[in-house]
C-alpha cells in the first residue's frame, strides 16, 4: 500500500472517530429528551402547573408547590451566589497576582468539584441544626454555595477579556479605580457575566442531593422561608421511588418540565451573551 493511500486512510479513520465522538456527545441529551417526552408529555396539562399533589390513588393533581418552591430556591440561591460570586470574581480579576486571589481561584475550583451531597451536609450543619428545622433558606444556602464557583470563574474570565486599553482610557480621564471597574469593566463584560449567572442557575435548578436534608421537600403548599419547602427535583425523586403508577406518571411529567426549564435557561443564556459588544461565550 502506497504511503499516500495509507495517509488518506488514517485521515479518514480519524475523521470518522471525531464525528462519532461528536454524535455520542449529542446522543444522551437527545435520548433523554425523547424518552421524557414519550413518557411525560401526556401528563402535562394546565393542572400540572396549577394544582397541588393529590393523595395516592386519586388521579390528576399537579406540582404547583414544587414549581414555586424551585423558583423560590433559585431566588434564594442567587441572592447568595450572585453577589459573592461576582464580587469575588472582580477581586480575583483585578488582583490576580495576590496570594488571596490565587487561593480564592483554587478553592473555587475545588468547591466546584465537591460532591453536592457534601454541600448539603455542610448546609445542614450550619443552618438546619441551629434553626432546628429544615427550611427553604437552608436549601437556598446550599444551592447558593454551589453557584459561587461558577459565577466567580465566569466573572473573572469575562473581566479579563476587557482590554487593558479601556481601563487605561478611563483611568487617564481621572476616574478612580473602583469606578473604572464598576462603570467601565463590569459594564463591558455584563453580557458574559449574565450568561455565566444563568448557566449557574441552570446547573443548580436540577440539584437534588443538597436539598435532601436542607429544603427537605413538602407535600403541602408553603412559601415560608423558615419551613421545609417543596422542590421539583425532590418531588420527582419521591414519586419515582414510590410504588404507585399515578406518582410515576407525575415524576415523568416533572422531569420533563425540569429539563425543559433548564434547557430554556441555557439557550437564553447563550443567546443573551451575544450582546452588541463582542464578548461572546
Amino acid at each position: 500500500m502506497g504511503r499516500e493511500r495509507r495517509r488518506q486512510l488514517i485521515n479518514r479513520l480519524m475523521e470518522g472517530l471525531a464525528v462519532f465522538s461528536a454524535v455520542v456527545t449529542l446522543l444522551p441529551l437527545a435520548l433523554i429528551l425523547a424518552f421524557l417526552i414519550y413518557q411525560g408529555i401526556s401528563y402535562i396539562n394546565w393542572d400540572f402547573f396549577t394544582k397541588m399533589p393529590e393523595p395516592v390513588g386519586e388521579a390528576g393533581g399537579g406540582m404547583a408547590n414544587g414549581i414555586v418552591g424551585t423558583l423560590i430556591l433559585i431566588g434564594l440561591a442567587s441572592l447568595i451566589g450572585v453577589p459573592v460570586g461576582v464580587g469575588a470574581g472582580v477581586y480575583v480579576a483585578e488582583n490576580g497576582h495576590t496570594r488571596l486571589a490565587w487561593t480564592a481561584r483554587f478553592m473555587a475550583d475545588v468547591l466546584n468539584g465537591v460532591p453536592s451531597i457534601v454541600v448539603g451536609i455542610f448546609a445542614y450543619t450550619l443552618m438546619v441544626l441551629p434553626m432546628r428545622s429544615f427550611s427553604a433558606v437552608a436549601g437556598g444556602f446550599a444551592l447558593g454555595i454551589m453557584m459561587i464557583p461558577v459565577v466567580l470563574r465566569t466573572t473573572e474570565e469575562m473581566l479579563k477579556l476587557v482590554p487593558t486599553s479601556l481601563h487605561e482610557a478611563a483611568l487617564a480621564l481621572g476616574v478612580p479605580r473602583w469606578k473604572v471597574t464598576v462603570r467601565v469593566a463590569l459594564r463591558t463584560a455584563r453580557a458574559g457575566i449574565i450568561t455565566g449567572i444563568m448557566l449557574a442557575v441552570a446547573r443548580i435548578a436540577g440539584e437534588t442531593a443538597p436539598l435532601l436534608f436542607t429544603a427537605f421537600g413538602n407535600q403541602f403548599w408553603s412559601i415560608r422561608l423558615d419551613e421545609p419547602i417543596a422542590a421539583m427535583p425532590l418531588q420527582i425523586f419521591t414519586y419515582a421511588i414510590s410504588p404507585y403508577d399515578s406518582w410515576h406518571a407525575q415524576a415523568w411529567a416533572g422531569a420533563l418540565v425540569l429539563v425543559c426549564l433548564i434547557l430554556v435557561i441555557s439557550v437564553v443564556a447563550r443567546t443573551a451573551g451575544r450582546g452588541r459588544f463582542g464578548v461572546v461565550r
Partner: protein
C-alpha cells in the same frame, strides 16, 4: 496661565529593569513638544510618567520629580486621580468605550465623575467634538456606538473625550501610528489648532511628524535624554553625534 512642566531627574523601572535614566526636560506651556527615539527607548514610559499612568502597571516604579505648574505630581500628598484629571491622554490605538454612544464617550470623564446636568453635558460634548474637528461628521449620530466610527474618527473621538474634562496638558502616545496618512494629516492639523489652549506632548516614531508639528523635540535613546531643544535646531544642527546618526537614518 499654565507654566509648563519641569521634569527633574526622572527614572522609571519595570520590576528590576530600569527604562528611564535621570531624564531632565522642560516642557513649555501652550506649545507642542515631541519625543522621538527608536522602539523600546522609553518614549511611552516617559510620557506615561507625566500623568502617573506608569504606576498602573504592576511592579512599575518611578523616582525623581515632575513639576506641573510648579507642583510636584509625585509629592506624597498628591492623588494620582487628580493628576490625571488635569493631564489628559490619547493612546496609540483608538480606544473608545465600546458600550457607550459617541455622546457618552465624550461625556464619560464628566459623567463618571458624577456630573449629570444635561445642559452642561450637551454643551461640553458639542464644544469638545467641535474642537476635535469631529462635530460635523457625527452631530446626527451622537447616539450611535463609538466603535461604529472609522479609525481616524475614533482617534478624534478619543481626543474629544480627553479635552472634555478641560485638562491643562494633553499627552499623545503615538496617536497616529494606527492611522492612514489622511487621518494622520487631520490629527496633525488638529494638534496645531489645539495648542492655543493646551500644552501638548507627543510621542512619535515618525521624525517627519515631529518636525512638522512640534516646537521642541527631545531625542530619547535607551532611556536617556540624548538631546533636547528647539525642533528646528535639533533636526538641522544637532549637537550630539548620536542624534545626528538617528535623524539621518543611520539606526533605529
Amino acid at each position: 496661565m499654565f507654566e509648563g512642566i519641569v521634569i527633574d531627574r526622572l527614572s522609571a523601572w519595570f520590576g528590576a529593569k530600569q527604562v528611564l535614566h535621570d531624564v531632565d526636560m522642560k516642557i513649555e506651556g501652550r506649545r507642542i513638544t515631541a519625543i522621538i527615539g527608536p522602539s523600546g527607548c522609553g518614549k511611552s514610559t516617559l510620557i506615561r510618567c507625566l500623568n502617573r499612568m506608569h504606576e498602573v502597571v504592576p511592579e512599575a516604579r518611578v523616582t525623581g520629580r515632575v513639576l506641573v505648574d510648579g507642583r510636584d505630581i509625585y509629592a506624597p500628598e498628591v492623588d494620582p486621580v487628580e493628576v490625571r484629571r488635569r493631564i489628559g491622554m490619547v493612546f496609540q490605538r483608538p480606544n473608545p468605550f465600546p458600550t457607550m454612544s459617541i455622546y457618552d464617550n465624550v461625556a464619560a470623564g464628566l459623567k463618571l465623575n458624577g456630573i449629570r446636568k444635561r445642559q452642561l453635558l450637551d454643551e461640553v460634548v458639542e464644544r469638545s467634538l467641535m474642537l476635535a474637528a469631529l462635530w460635523d461628521e457625527v452631530k446626527d449620530d451622537l447616539r450611535k456606538s463609538g466603535s461604529s466610527l472609522s479609525g481616524g474618527q475614533q482617534q478624534r473621538l478619543c481626543i474629544a473625550r480627553a479635552i472634555a474634562v478641560e485638562p491643562d496638558v494633553l499627552l499623545m502616545d503615538e496617536p497616529c501610528s494606527a492611522l492612514d496618512p489622511v487621518a494622520t494629516a487631520k490629527i496633525e492639523e488638529l494638534m496645531t489648532d489645539l495648542k492655543k489652549d493646551y500644552t501638548i506632548v507627543i510621542v512619535t516614531h515618525n521624525m517627519q511628524q515631529a518636525a512638522r508639528v512640534s516646537e521642541y523635540t527631545g531625542f530619547l535613546l535607551l532611556g536617556e535624554m540624548v538631546e533636547f531643544g528647539g525642533t528646528q535646531e535639533l533636526f538641522t544642527t544637532p549637537k550630539n553625534p548620536r542624534t545626528e546618526s538617528y535623524i539621518t537614518g543611520r539606526f533605529g
